[in-house]
């Protein structure tokens, strides 16, 4: 009964995002827009992956649609999505009160901690392709994992100093919890102010889930995906090769060198790999090899990003 009462005042999906953005903006975060290249997780956005490098303090927050083709279920599974939304908060260096700030953010979205059971359970994060890892927790709210909380330690194979606190909220999960619905597609995304009519998550996103699942599992042209991957890789490698000439560049050329462009190309490769993987097109022998190829790109970009930062900054 109480749950039903709660449901009525529960935030809509978009209000949830507004509140979190407001909360973190009030704590000094710059609100960034979602990155416009396919990524598997908010961490892969350059706003996290590259900004954590180097000594410069950063406070940034953004929602990031994250694509995981293999998790697609044609919209048939109420808990799994090909594309879900993460709310990513990056705090470098992490403030002493970071955990308390996080708990306050839960209060801000209508979770009264006095009424729930919250636990921080060990969960260490790792992205081997990015040479990145951190330690932290999965935050459990009444048995539901609602957040990944990570102290980033390494990125692009480089030790971070200062390290960085990363808070990743699973927005669909939290909205489902707040609204007490059993299917993601039943989440109320928005309510029309005049009529009170509800717009659901399903209305906005179900077609995407259906079609992208079909694309990823059934339609994607394997040989073309390979071609794309090879092309993106070749271009990224060419840029990495040119970056070897950093020392000979003048300040302007150095500043304008497209490290960010190279990173996008690496992300494209990663996405192509995920599509091929979902399609079941990567054989045993190929798999490890392709991952190593992408790692070369991602780690290579991180290295030149750091080098460029040093050169330009110094």
């Amino acid at each position: 009964m109480q749950a039903i009462a709660e449901k009525k005042k529960a935030l809509t999906f978009q209000e949830l995002l507004f509140r979190l953005q407001r909360f973190w903006a009030d704590r000094g975060c710059v609100l960034q827009q979602p990155y416009d290249v396919e990524v598997g997780a908010g961490t892969m956005s350059p706003d996290t992956f590259l900004r954590v490098l180097g000594p410069k303090p950063v406070r940034i927050a953004y929602a990031q649609p994250s694509r995981r083709p293999a998790d697609g279920r044609y919209g048939e599974n109420p808990n799994r999505l090909f594309r879900h939304t993460q709310m990513q908060v990056i705090l470098k260096p992490p403030p002493v009160r970071i955990q308390e700030m996080y708990l306050e953010s839960l209060e801000a979205i209508g979770i009264d901690l006095n009424e729930h059971d919250i636990k921080f359970e060990e969960d260490n994060w790792e992205w081997p392709v990015g040479g990145a890892w951190g330690v932290g927790w999965q935050v459990m709210l009444d048995g539901l994992e609602i957040t990944q909380f990570t102290y980033f330690q390494q990125c692009g194979g480089m030790d971070l100093d200062p390290i960085c606190g990363e808070i990743t909220y699973g927005l669909e999960r939290i909205a489902g919890f707040l609204q007490d619905v059993d299917s993601i597609y039943d989440i109320v995304w928005a309510v029309e102010p005049d009529t009170g009519k509800q717009v659901t998550y399903g209305e906005i996103r179900l077609a995407e889930e259906e079609q992208y699942s079909a694309y990823g599992f059934d339609y994607a042209d394997v040989s073309k995906l390979w071609e794309h991957l090879n092309l993106y890789e070749a271009e990224c490698l060419a840029l990495l090769e040119k970056a070897k000439g950093f020392e000979a560049m003048d300040a302007l050329a150095l500043k304008r060198f497209p490290v960010l462009g190279a990173y996008e190309l690496a992300l494209k490769c990663s996405h192509m790999f995920n599509l091929l993987d979902a399609r079941g097109a990567i054989s045993v022998t190929e798999r490890v090899g392709v991952m190593a190829r992408i790692r070369t790109l991602v780690v290579g970009v991180a290295k030149i990003y750091a080098a460029q930062g040093v050169a330009v900054g110094g």
Binding site: Q2, N77, E121, D142, G143, R287
Partner: protein, 711 residues
Amino acid sequence: MRRRLSENMADFLFEIGVEEIPARMIAGAQAELQKRVVGMLERERLVGSGVVSRSYSTPRRLAVVVEGVAARQEDVSEELLGPAVKIAYKDGVATPAAVAFAKKAGVAVEQLSTVTTPKGEYLAAVVVKAGRGAAEVIAAELPKELAGIYWAKTMYWRAGKPERFVRPVRWMVALLGGDVVPVEFAGYVAGNVTYGHRVLFGAQEIVVDRPEAYATALEQAFVIADVEVRRHRIRKALDHVTRTVDGLRWREDHALVDKLTHLTEWASDRSVVLGEFEAAYLELPEEVLVTVMRDHQSYFAVEDKSGKLAPYFLAVLNMQADEAGLAVIRHGNARVLRARFNDARFFWEFDQRTPLKERVELLKNVTFQKELGSYAAKSERVGKVASGLAGLLLEREIALNPTALGEAVVLAKTDLTSELVKEFTELQGIVGGLYARAQGYSQATADAIYDQYLPESMEDAVQRTVEGAVLALADKADTIAGMFGLGLEPTGSKDPFALRRAANGIVKILAETTVALPLSLREVATVACGQNEALAAKVRGFLAERLEFYLREAQGQAYDVVKAVLAAGAEDVRDAVARAFAVTVVRGGGDFAAVSAAFKRMKNILAQAAEKGLVAAEFVNASLMTDAAEKALWERSSELASEVAVLRSETNYHAALEVIATLRPQVDAFFDAVMVMDPDAAVRSNRLALLREVLGDFSGIADFSEIVTAG
């Protein structure tokens, strides 16, 4: 230093507040902190040995209280040795050497004394080292101990990376009696302020007046710092809440109780919720439901009076609430579980669309190991090994169903391609077995698949069936042979492919199956390694090493017994276990000890003779015996040897050993009266032959010379 109750002593409290420590690391760190603090205080002469201490922990803190810490170290006087008197004085006048020594020691030249050492006369100075105050010592020494605590994984959090710890440190309390000890670590200076439960108490500061008040002060702030008290309360709460529904019982799970004890700061009868799920989910296999609850949600499974899984779960909270509050939390947890069960059901149904036999082909796409290829290749190798082992067993008239074994081998790894195993990897094998059953394969086939990964630990059960055991032996032996073939043997503490666990499994299976499997370690190794004899020898050696480990660790046999038994044969696992038990039973007897000691002497004599190039005769010749004791030993040992041989063939090792022990009078008399190394070469070599025969006849159960005897 004995404990004195005096005003010069006080209890010492140290607490370090940390962001949530991983549950699996807490118990070890708590014990280590206690050991380090007590050890440091002993080393610094602030407590005596056997001092009373207590330790505490919650996810957010580690703490230790040590009773009766001295306020100061006692002064110690120390004698420093200086230069030789010859050098120190010239004509009765102190030389610069003497002056420098006095200065270094901090005394006047007149206060120097002389001491006589084996090397001559030397100058000496008695220096009194003033004891330091306890607070000063602790503040100087404790930070090093904190930095030295072992963590499985650590992190940096401060800029400049000044220290590593498991998670960021957030406060410290250090109190000697009522006084703060300013211990500095991780950017904090210890004080007398601690914090309570995040939610139930909030962020207010708690001032701890004295170490004795620590646990009570925290309890008022909804923190039970004593782990055992918390564990007990959780168990009580589980009982209490489960009893609210008639006939229910929670499934005992020590590991889960332990985990939840280390995930919570508080526990009361209002800290556990009993939730329900729809009975329809009980159509899913119990293994799947329990795994979801235990491994993924940390919930206890609940059973009814008959022991069957009931549609309930128990969640342990780091919280407490009234009925209405618990209802909300129960509702949330039930919702998550429902989603998890839905997923599992979805995977189960989805997986049925592709039967196991169609998945065989898919195994070509699942890597086992880069150089050893896919699981399809592995299954093929395992098939060969399994049929080799099965052939040996059939020759030895062990009943097994080759069809079921063959099917099980082919299907064994197919569940790796299922969605359910991808989601719940800990259910590999089990899911395959369940699917095989659901898809109409025989019980024997399904059980063999189901049991294939057993035993995962020394406590685990082994296979229920011969087919299952053969599949597991073949699988594990093939893994070991494959990795050894690539030079990927375990080294030191590194065993990335868990080959030791695989070999332990082989030994345990051979030792413990209901139907004994008469396979030697050499046979298992040889069948797995094919024609490669050098590899087979290596693998056999590795298995023998694990047999030694098994006898010691799983069967609790003494080190010398294990050595003795394995020296007499390390091929037949069951036989080695039986021999070890028999030796352990008789080894306490006086006669047996005496015979063992005598056998050791015989072995030494033979070894010394061999070193000197003195050869034993090929046969024992009674006509060359000159001494009655010698003859008596020969006759009696020959009689006993045939008796022992019969008992051994009946594997009645205990009786055989008791017979061997009766040889004591003849053995004793022999060594009292006879000198083996007789000057006469013929007599001597005959005696050596006698010793060799006696040792040979009686060393089939164990090499007694390895037994450590008292005195």
